[in-house]
Symmetry: C2
Subunit: 406 residues, 2 copies
């Protein structure tokens, strides 16, 4: 008898037949005596269909009305899944984000959850109902509909699991777990049974794409055990928890990579306090997320400042940066949107030296030039030319012996 929050993504609910399959899976858990809250995404293709309608009106749709539009996608799914559950004899009740007051800030299109009012859901659960919640959406203080941005349904699921103090949050997707790297790039990639939140955070943020990073942050913060598993095949998936249970923790858990970024450099800015803020403040003000940030030791009282943004934000960030450059009397702004980032990730590296040199050696053997390096306690990332991405990932997967496991 556990309380489980299950989240099914767009592919898992892509047709009426698949929605009926989801209903069957929910009923199996229900029959084992578990209480179930289901979070669903829009049927696959639906969000793009809606987005294309909007783009026929405005090439770059955004703001309040886009969220009014996109939030209908999940609303369709909650109604259909509830019907399918009732048709199969369950009692079920659907809720949109605003209906259960998933309160967010008012940053339309990429809102953040502030609070969830779980009373309605709790009383429905007590009444024996399966509760079906629209992912990806909420509303602000004024009652305006907001969306959490792509992948936000994972965040909804974890936030609900945290609010309800659920025993487990299961994320159903079209892959059966978290792998040492993308099997499409490295066929020998291996599914991990367990991984820590920290590692998953690095894997997700670096483009492993299985889970949305904010959902992992949420899960970590509220210590909600998170399980990634497939809607289409059986299997225990990958459990993500705060515990490092393996005595013989591997040095490296996986190789993450990402070709969604672009880098921007502002050359010859005054090497003085407050400059980093002057550069990144206006970028952040436009809700553009910055990933890697590198500033070299200066010379001649000036320094160079490099950072990466999502490729979609490249042009917007470049424009802002050019204004800043004028203001700061900087030398020039350069950029490259044909880069790739490759990272090795593992909590084991904390206590082991030599990971970095192994990594750089493996890349050098393949003649891959490194243009940026950034490190954290449990990962080392490098930026390379986009064309070396696959070669680099394969070389590192082999160098760290990941196909063998520990």
């Amino acid at each position: 008898m556990a309380l489980i929050v299950q989240k099914y993504g767009g592919t898992s609910v892509g047709t009426v037949e698949r929605i009926q399959e989801v209903a069957k899976k929910v009923i199996q858990y229900r029959q084992q005596g578990h209480d179930i809250v289901v979070v669903v995404s829009a049927m696959s293709g639906e969000t793009n269909r809606l987005l294309n309608l909007a783009k026929d009106i405005n090439q770059d749709p955004r703001g309040r009305e886009l969220d009014v539009l996109l939030s209908t996608g999940e609303q369709v799914t909650i109604a259909l899944l509830s019907m399918a559950l009732m048709q199969a004899g369950m009692t079920a009740q659907s809720y949109t984000g605003p209906q259960i007051k998933i309160l967010t800030d008012d940053a339309f299109n990429k809102a953040r959850i502030i609070k969830i009012d779980e009373t309605k859901i709790r009383s429905d659960i007590e009444a024996g109902k399966v509760v079906v919640v629209a992912g990806f959406q909420g509303c602000d203080e004024q009652g305006n509909i907001t969306t959490l941005g792509r992948g936000g349904s994972d965040t909804t699921a974890v936030a609900l699991a945290a609010a309800l103090k659920a025993d487990e949050c299961q994320i159903y997707t079209d892959v059966d777990g978290v792998y040492t790297t993308d099997p499409r790039v490295v066929p020998e990639a291996r599914r991990l049974d367990r991984i820590t939140f920290e590692e998953m955070l690095e894997m997700a943020s670096l483009g492993a794409k299985v889970l949305q990073i904010r959902s992992v942050e949420f899960a970590s913060k509220y210590n909600v055990p998170l399980r990634v598993l497939s809607s289409f095949t059986e299997g225990g998936g990958t459990l993500i928890t705060s515990e490092e249970t393996n005595m013989e923790q591997a040095l490296i858990s996986g190789i993450a990579f990402n070709r969604d970024e672009a880098k921007l450099t502002i050359d010859g800015v005054p090497d003085q306090p407050g400059v980093a803020h002057k550069i990144l403040g206006p970028i952040a003000a436009q809700h553009i997320e910055v990933d890697m940030i590198i500033q070299n030791t200066g010379h001649d009282a000036t320094t160079d400042f490099t950072f990466t943004v999502h490729r979609n934000d490249y042009l917007a960030a470049q424009k802002i940066l050019q204004n800043i450059a004028t203001e700061l009397n900087a030398r020039k702004v350069t950029g490259d949107d044909h880069i790739a980032k490759i990272s090795v990730v593992g909590v084991g590296m904390r206590s082991h030296a030599g990971i970095a040199s192994n990594m750089f050696e493996a890349l050098a053997r393949e003649n891959i030039n490194i243009s940026m390096i950034s490190t954290s306690e449990i990962k080392i990332s490098v930026v390379v030319d986009e064309k070396y991405l696959e070669l680099g990932v394969r070389a590192l997967h082999k160098a760290f012996n990941l196909e063998q496991g520990y």
Copy 2:
């Protein structure tokens, strides 16, 4: 400088291009200095698309979850129209039914509006915004999404016009006004410039299909001038008001007809007080609407009781009636779902005798047998075999000289 509520139906917003045309029309009115509130339906085809998804799960979808599903249709349109208005330089703001608290009862799928909170809209109007409202939907006291049933967007528009004390409520549709009868049946049918609420009520309820009956009732009750006009052609349409302005009012304004009904007869029920209620109570309790009701003078202490319902409700009503028949010890239940109703309508008939005999004579000349007759102050309706519908309507249109006008 007037406050106008405009309603655009599904065909008028059927594509992005048409939505942009609607935006242009709104802007024209705005530039004339009017304040505009727009009510829209789902894009044509959308409600059926959603309904078919539901039917893949449950052949007879209904209840709470159906409204969660269907209400997404209008929500898509309000977002797109608001975007189109903003793209054209207007300030616009969309609202779903629940967002402006269009409070309804909880009869899912055919809810009725109880109250509208117009404060948000009024302050938006004062701020110079075009307000775009989703038709057809609201929410009950508990915040559950409800829909008003097919055609409910007209009702939303009129209810909003009443709440806002608007100067006019314009219903844009794919016809350019109210005709003496359906021009597809009688090519000589003529557009009426004006018509009274009472006449329109009879025309609408009898199947003229231009406006939903509840919207006309609402408009009449709150004395909201209602104008029916085309989204696609210019022209003043038909104005529907409480005034009978023409000194020489025609005897008959139009011929309405309807093939959406079925009749049910319960034979040999006790001819005693309370029987009609015993028969119709359980029908009404299932939210099945009854149109004509006829009870003949009894004989042998029993009587026959006949009524008509929408064809979609025929089987459900028949089932209920069979139970009632057993209870009341009635002789038998019979029915026919191949009937048609034809009505002549006109406020002028109040002060003129002889309309009925003219009507029956015209039908007799064509050898059309009448199986039910029902009259009111301003209309006379007959039920005939469905196959005589067109013939009967043409005969009556000619007999009352409607192609000529007054």
